[in-house]
Every structure is written in structure tokens, then in C-alpha cells.
Symmetry: C2
Subunit: 334 residues, 2 copies
């Protein structure tokens, strides 16, 4: 069925407030889920909410917490997320860093003990809209096999980068897996097969069955390079946040364990740099108008597609599976 | 022919000193080139030296300069490289950042007006050997087409990440192109065709001719994700360093123009983090011993192959094309 963003937001907020989330925290968490739906990233959308609500009921997520900051150095803060909601703790971290990035030029927050962040683009875009370069990294359960291996040993380890320009900010958001596990769950939920090359099953053989893939491992993107990048994020986040390595991570997909992944946020003040945002805007325009590989299909900049889909969905509404909508409505009433 | 690392180093140092490089700077530049040869990365090895020497002769590279630092904030420095040799300016930057990273936790240097850095792994490894997390990014001439495009609009925009562990450091070094342009030059120099998918020619059509590829564009690695990452590096470096965007970059492959690309170095102090390097070492070992896709071919960690090749080449010597060796010997004597 088709629902408006407002309708979905109200249902999500109500279900979170029902379980003790203060209004502001409920709104922020709902915002992350609905923004993902609006941008066509249903893997990070409302399908995540029932698990999250169960986690709150079980004390695995504390909707009131916003994290405890321990500044180790003037430009480096460690944050214990106190089992808080991912978006609440991350946006609190971004606020906490705001004055330090102005004074230091670059700052970093390493966060442990917090729930799923959802779509990283949200934070990278928020940083860029505030005039900062934002780099966000996160880890996850072991879902991805190494290049040259078949066992799930790495997280999907996404990275998002937001950079202010004179026009809309540049916003990149990519999982270092060939797809996110959320997207495999999406296929499973919709009973659609996955393409060859996305995943191996539990025995290490290629599969097109999303349910078999959930028990196996996803491929890294781009062969050894994507594997290397994902592994670098795995190590960097764990060593700074003090979070677990992928095989010991729990709590972003289940409703049984505390969340043991880690997150990192780096902010840089481009006003302290020697370049100009006008030059970026001009360059991005030249890229958009450069010769396309397929006639009539212009070169895209990361973030362009999301923005278009968002604008469309804001007017036309969001397509949500009937079963999910009814489940969420029931959870909001309960 | 086969030459020892010492022999190659002496030739390179002599040719640089002949052209006015102080001993220490000549040794550092020679080190970068020979280390690339030792690791099997001939694209970033001695084939670069004749052009560099010509650049010194023409005043496009100043072998005495080490850059002028302007600290904009306690954790952010802008560096004018004064046309210095890439390795000399970058290692001076690393020294300049040493005390700031201890005090601030994270620091960043943005560098313009400096010559080709060579193999980025060198700097990432140096940072990690000094106990820091090192992230190095660099831009280049427009050599790479955007995903969905055919025109060379982006640099090969490499990134290297070094992370200390209890054992050998983790060292990742990747170009965001499917290969480096240096490797295409290597194929051209050796008259070897390039694989399908690496590049398009000047008309936008796929090619296996390295000379045609030099006039066309290289593909980004990993489709839209690698393209997005390369573009993020393009924007991030230019906005901080004040360097040119790829279509206006000159001076890393030619002997006619000043170098207008940019470089970024980020250092982070893992001692200020909440994790342990012992956990990283243990995890990397579990990765190496995890189930391989091909029996008998264990999973590799980025940097493993380089280290093995280096150890072998140190004892067996380095294979250098005869013509290049004779050219370099002549340049060292001239």
C-alpha cells in the first residue's frame, strides 16, 4: 500500500513513545527510518522498526539515553552510547563536536554501545548542511566474506562522506559489501531472488536465494579493493571505539543481544582549508554534463538519485508492504 | 636485467644529487622509487625518475624545498609545498604533525604545490610504524571516467590507510581507478595489452591497447561505489588543499607544468581510543586462517603480498628493463 511520509512518521513516533521514548528522540529515530523509505532505501526503513521496538521492550535499547562523552584529547572524544538509539547518540555526538571542530579544524568521535544508526547518508548530509565535511563509518555483524574467502568475517562496514558545495551538498553513502544485508532482507521479505555474485550460502557456494544468503556471506564490492576498504573500516572503528570485531558483533539485526558494533564520526571545517566550495559546484556541474556512456542517461553524482526519489515520494507517498504497515499500526496502538 | 636495491638506490641518489638535491632529500625520493620496485609496483618505481629529473632541471620541482606550514587551527595545517619533491614535503608534514597528533588526538595536513608522492603505502606504513593511524589521499590529472560516463574527468585519487597492530601494521593502498595510470604506462613500456574493462579509448570505446588507453580514460573500480569514493577524495582534497580539480591538474606525469594536484594526510592517535591493538592482531590472524575460496590459497590481508615480494626482491634483486637501467645510469653520470 501507499502511505504518506507524515502518516509513517506518526506511526513510528507513536510506537516509540508508547515504549518510553521522549518525543524528540522518537521523532529523530522515526525521521531516520522514514527518510530511508523516502530515498528508496527500504532496507534501512520501517522494516527495522519492529526489531527495534522489541529491543526497547527488552532493555537492549534505551530510548532515553544520549551517550556519555569522555574527551580524551581536544579533538578526540570517546562516547559510551549507554544502549541509546543510534540516531539519538550520533546526533548528540555531532552537537558535542560542533564547537570543537570550529576551534580545532578536525575532530573525531568514536562511539560504542549504541543501537543501529540506520542510513549513514543522513548524518553526512546533516554535517554538510551545517557547513562541515562529515565522514561517518560503522561496523556490523560478520556478514561479508573476505576477497579470496567464503566465510562471513567482516561487517558490511559502510562509510558516508558529506561535503558542502555552493549548491546541494555532495553526499556519498556506501556499504563496503556489494549490497547491504538490509537489501538482502528486503528481497527475502518480498520473495525476490538476488543476483548471482552478491552472496554465497553457508557452504561457500554462490546462491540466488536471499534466505540462503542470510546464512552465508555477502561479497565485498569491487574485489580486493572493496575488501581492503571494508577491512580498514573494521579495524579503524574497533581500535578507536573499543567495539567488537565483526565475528563478535551482535545487536543490530537481532532482538536478543546488546549492540556491540562501533561508529566513528569525523568532522572537518572546510573554512580552514585553502580551497573554495564554488570550485566544487562548478566541477560537479561539468561532471553531470560530461559525455554519458548511454545516450540520454546523464552522468550522476552520488546523492542525486536519492534527492529525486525523495522529492517524488514526498508528493506521491511511499510504497510499504501491507503486512508491514498493519504490523506497525498494531505496534503503534499497543 | 636484475639489479640489487642498493645499486638502484645509488643510481637514483646520484642522479638527484647531480641536480642539486641535498643528500637527505635525494635519499628519501630514491627510497620511495626503490621501495615501489621492491614491492612489485614498477608503475610507481624508477620509470618515474627521468621525468622527475627533467622537472628539476626545468625548475618545476625544487629538490631543496620541504614546504611552508601554515597552521590554521591547532589540528589543521595548510602546506604550500614550494614545488618540493612529493616524499620530502609529505615526510616533513608527518614530522610537523607529530606533536600535534599526540596533543589533539587527530590532525590533518592539506598540501598543494608539491610533486608526485609515489606509492602512498610508504606514508601509511610510516605512520603506523610510529604508532599512529595514517590516512593519505592524493589527486591527479583527469584519467578516470565517471561511472556511466566515458570522458576522463577524475584523478586516479588513491587512498592509503595504515593501522598499527601488535604485529606488522595493516597497510592498505588503493587507487580508486580499476588500475593506476602508472600500471597502464608499465604495460605500454613492456608492450603488453591491457585487460578488457580497464579503459576506454579517446572515442569512449573499450580498448586493450595501453597507448590508446593513455589517450582515453580508465574505469573506476567497483562501479558506482568506487566512482563515488574517488569523487569524494577529489572534492575533499581540493577543498582543503586548494588544489585544482582533475581536468585542471598538471605536473605528475609531464615535464612541462607545475604540479597542481593536492594531498591530504590525517593522523590519529590510537592510544586515545578505547580499543586494543592486540584485538586487531588476533582478528587478522583469524581472517588469514578462515576458509579460502580456492583450496591452498589462503585469505590475504592488504600489505601481506607487498611484504613477501619485498623480502624476495631484497635477496634476489629487482627486475628492471635494460633500456630503463641504461637510461638511469646515464642520467646518474650526467
Amino acid at each position: 500500500m501507499r502511505a504518506s511520509a507524515d502518516q509513517l512518521r506518526q506511526i513510528a513516533v507513536a510506537s516509540l513513545e508508547q515504549r518510553g521514548a521522549p518525543r524528540h528522540n522518537a521523532q529523530l529515530q522515526a525521521e531516520l527510518l522514514v527518510e530511508a523509505e523516502l530515498r528508496g532505501l527500504s532496507s534501512h526503513g520501517l522494516q527495522r522498526l519492529p526489531t527495534l521496538l522489541k529491543r526497547i521492550e527488552r532493555g537492549l535499547a534505551d530510548p532515553r539515553a544520549s551517550g556519555i562523552c569522555q574527551w580524551q584529547r581536544p579533538a578526540l572524544v570517546n562516547i559510551d552510547g549507554e544502549r541509546g538509539l543510534g540516531p539519538v547518540v550520533m546526533m548528540a555526538a555531532m552537537n558535542e563536536l560542533a564547537s570543537a571542530v570550529s576551534s580545532c579544524g578536525i575532530v573525531i568521535a568514536a562511539i560504542r554501545n549504541t543501537n543501529h544508526l540506520g542510513m549513514l547518508a543522513y548524518y553526512a548530509e546533516a554535517a554538510a548542511m551545517a557547513g562541515r565535511i562529515g565522514i561517518v563509518m560503522s561496523t556490523s555483524e560478520a556478514l561479508v566474506h573476505p576477497h579470496g574467502g567464503t566465510k562471513a568475517m567482516l561487517g558490511t562496514n559502510p562509510i558516508a562522506i558529506g561535503i558542502p558545495t555552493d549548491a546541494k551538498p555532495f553526499v556519498l553513502d556506501l556499504a563496503t559489501s556489494i549490497v547491504s544485508m538490509g537489501r538482502i532482507h528486503s528481497h527475502a521479505l518480498r520473495n525476490e531472488p538476488i543476483p548471482v555474485g552478491w552472496a554465497v550460502d553457508a557452504t561457500g557456494r554462490p546462491t540466488t536465494d536471499p534466505d540462503a544468503a542470510k546464512l552465508g556471506a555477502i561479497a565485498p564490492f569491487g574485489g580486493p579493493k572493496g575488501y581492503g576498504l571494508g577491512l580498514a573500516i573494521e579495524l579503524l572503528v574497533a581500535t578507536l571505539a573499543g567495539s567488537e570485531m565483526a565475528p563478535d558483533v551482535r545487536g543490530t539485526l537481532d532482538d536478543t543481544d546488546p549492540a556491540t558494533k562501533g561508529d566513528v564520526l569525523i568532522l572537518i571545517d572546510p573554512a580552514a582549508g585553502a580551497g573554495s566550495t564554488a570550485a566544487l559546484t562548478c566541477y560537479l556541474e561539468s561532471l553531470r554534463s560530461s559525455c554519458p556512456a548511454e545516450p540520454g542517461r546523464p552522468v550522476a553524482i552520488p546523492g542525486d538519485g536519492s534527492r529525486t526519489r525523495r522529492a517524488e515520494a514526498l508528493s506521491a507517498g511511499v510504497e510499504v508492504p501491507d503486512a508491514l504497515f498493519h504490523k506497525l499500526s498494531a505496534l503503534a496502538a499497543a
